[in-house]
Amino acid sequence: MKKQVVAMLLAGGEGKRLGVLTQKLAKPAVHYGGKYRIIDFALSNCCNSGIDTVGVLTQYQPLVLNSYIGIGSSWDLDRKNGGVTLLPPFVQQGGGEWYKGTANAIYQNINFIDGHDPDYVLVISGDHIYQMDYSQMIATHKRNGADATIAVIEVPWEEASRFGIMNVDDRGRILDFAEKPAEPKTNLASMGIYIFTWEVLKAYLVADEGNPDSSNDFGKDIIPAMLREERILQSYRFRGYWKDVGTIDSLWESNMDLLADLPELNLHAQDSRIYSVNPNQPPQYVADSARINRSLINEGCLVFGEVDHSVLFYGVHVGRNAVVRDSIIMPNVRIGENVTIHKAIIGGNSVIEDGAVIGDIEAGPSAEIVVYGEGSCLTADVSTQVATASEEK
């Protein structure tokens, strides 16, 4: 059955810079915002944009991601025609290989896309936090008769050299593109969201694959090649919250962004609702002794202590006289009595025993973020040692 648009979601990222958080799972599966995994944003955006055919390209540590996505019912992607399809690298006659780059990942799945005979292919990444209606971007693409449309966002000038920067004319047509330029000409950064006219992209993917010197990457190879050959590349200006949460710092910051009185990312909006797999937990219980301010707390939590400026995922218990500040506590963590947690990310199913002190309290708000992986067990003694060790480091 013909589809106008097929979305290809790149979800193979290892997320090395997230350290212990991606030891056992791919970056898109990392928890975010008290209830979500990072990939929920891309999948929900597809659902909210009316895109019902999504290929998810997995590679690194796909186990958690695969079982999380399942048949896609959480995002309304359990469809008879289309729906969600997990696309890991595979072997065929003549061999097989890992996805060598973002473009190669799509190249290896040309048959999947052709099976839906789409006019356009939307290439997105499972690493970003944002709410976006792709249908508007597709409309822009069509209106301009573009071969490719790239979503761009204004970033602070001083950060522009960390991004792929677009130079565009007054009608939004992309004149040139520079990956991480030392001296950026504009502050319009590529968000890694592309719409291609499928016929055109397919030709470029095949040509790119034939080039042994190519790194098979959209930003480094495909887009520059299209610019060289004067294809119509259009920019699509996005205004709103967008964050790459690829590092511990940015992941922490992005979670903290949600705690503002009126956060830029509105999780309450009805038409851009973010969907996730539901853990079926009861409402949270907030005890008489509890104090909660500036925080996001999910169902299944049991709070007896103090939670300030923090994000608690489902099933977290906070014992009496415990203080959790500036921290992210992932699902089912048990925090004992008289525990202090300061500026930390605690992996799921961890146990923090009574009296433990975590994080560098003396350093205050400028402390380094302390991270413990899934299933950590922290006793009062050990945690002080570890805290000291991380200070020395």
Partner: protein
């Protein structure tokens, strides 16, 4: 439990919850911050491994059917078995609904067409978290014709157990009498029983020939002729039979032991998903001793309350001793105490609404004050 089918019997004509059931069946009364009554009965069956459940409805079923949908949230969207929503099968225009047994009779094919050999029938206003496995094994071991589930109600007040049915059992555990006033032992019948399908079908047909239309009487009439055995449920039980008891049992959930017992032990309780974000506490939020569902935004003060999903409490608003259902909004500076707000109630700025904790008043759905 592959050999058991379930029935959730909503055919009782009693109206227990007045305002809360004006536009909905008792099974779809919201409870515990995010659930509806039926979620508990349904989850108990599913957690026990029953994969085929019929819901015998009576009327006002729009909200119930909206809630249940395809049964997906309870894993009951099955090719084999699954969820059956069965409204009364009364023949127009002569039919008249006189009792719940008419539903059993009208849907006798649900039983006849099932290959399973046993049936567990439960009500929806006896709220508990239980696994039927042990009761079912006892049913088989004792060779009982019918096993009735009961709760020892010695710890409950007379109000708690009003309009309930009670069992008198002998030393062997056999049920000798059933009556609508407390026995000395106060063994409260949970309106839940286990029976073989064949016997149930026989009893339904026999009762119907005798023009008996109540499933309760059908069992009562068999006390002498059948081996009816009692099985005690030892976990938590909330019998919701009035607005007062609705309020009381809701507030009991503010005890973490009850919270744990009802929501986690032995199984999880499933309900329709709303995909609300986690609840947001802003800088001035003051929340104490409360049960808060997802999707709330709390800028004011909340004490001894149950907040359902998506409730907004604006700056300076104070809510005490109240149950606030889904998507209500309490604007700045308002003071709310001792009331039950049905869904989507809007309270504008600086209003004062207070009620009596012992006889809480209900503000009806979509009221605007």
């Amino acid at each position: 439990m592959r050999n058991v089918i379930g029935v959730i019997n909503l055919g009782s004509t009693r109206t227990l919850l007045n305002e809360l059931t004006r536009n909905r069946s008792i099974a779809s009364v919201p409870f515990g911050g995010r659930y509806r009554f039926i979620d508990f009965a349904l989850s108990n069956m599913v957690n026990t491994g029953i994969q085929k459940v019929a819901v015998f409805t009576l009327n006002k079923s729009r909200s119930l059917m909206d809630h249940l949908g395809s049964g997906k949230e309870w894993d009951l969207d099955r090719k084999q078995g699954g969820l059956f929503i069965l409204p009364p099968a009364i023949s127009y225009p002569y039919g008249e609904y006189r009792g719940d047994l008419q539903n059993f009779y009208g849907h006798i094919d649900y039983f006849n067409r099932s290959k399973e050999s046993y049936v567990i029938v439960s009500s929806s206003h006896m709220i508990c978290n239980l696994n039927y496995q042990e009761a079912f094994e006892r049913h088989l071991a004792t060779g009982a014709d019918i096993t009735l589930l009961y709760k020892d109600a010695k710890g409950m007040t007379d109000d708690d157990i009003a309009s309930c049915e009670f069992l008198g059992i002998d030393e062997t555990g056999r049920v000798r009498k059933m009556q609508d006033r407390p026995t000395d032992e106060r063994l409260l019948y949970m309106e839940t029983f286990i029976i073989s399908k064949k016997l149930l079908v026989d009893l339904i047909e026999k009762s119907f020939r005798q023009e008996e239309v109540s499933s309760l009487n059908m069992i009562k009439n068999s006390l002498l002729t059948l081996n009816i055995v009692a099985y005690e449920h030892r976990g938590h039980l909330s019998v919701v039979n009035s607005i007062e008891s609705y309020y009381k049992h809701s507030m009991n959930l503010l005890n973490p032991d009850v919270w744990r017992n009802l929501f986690f032990e032995p199984g999880l309780v499933y309900t329709k998903i709303k995909d609300e974000p986690p609840t947001k506490y802003v800088v001035d939020a003051q929340v104490r001793n409360s049960l808060i569902a997802n999707g709330c935004v709390i800028e004011g003060t909340v004490e001894n309350c149950i907040l359902f999903r998506g409730v907004k409490v604006r700056k300076g608003a104070v809510i005490r001793d109240s149950i606030i259902m889904q998507d209500c909004e309490i604007d700045e500076g308002s003071f709310i105490e001792g009331v039950i707000f049905d869904k989507e109630v809007m309270i504008s700025k600086d209003k004062r609404i207070t009620g009596d904790k012992n006889a809480p008043s209900v503000i009806t759905k979509r009221s605007i004050v």
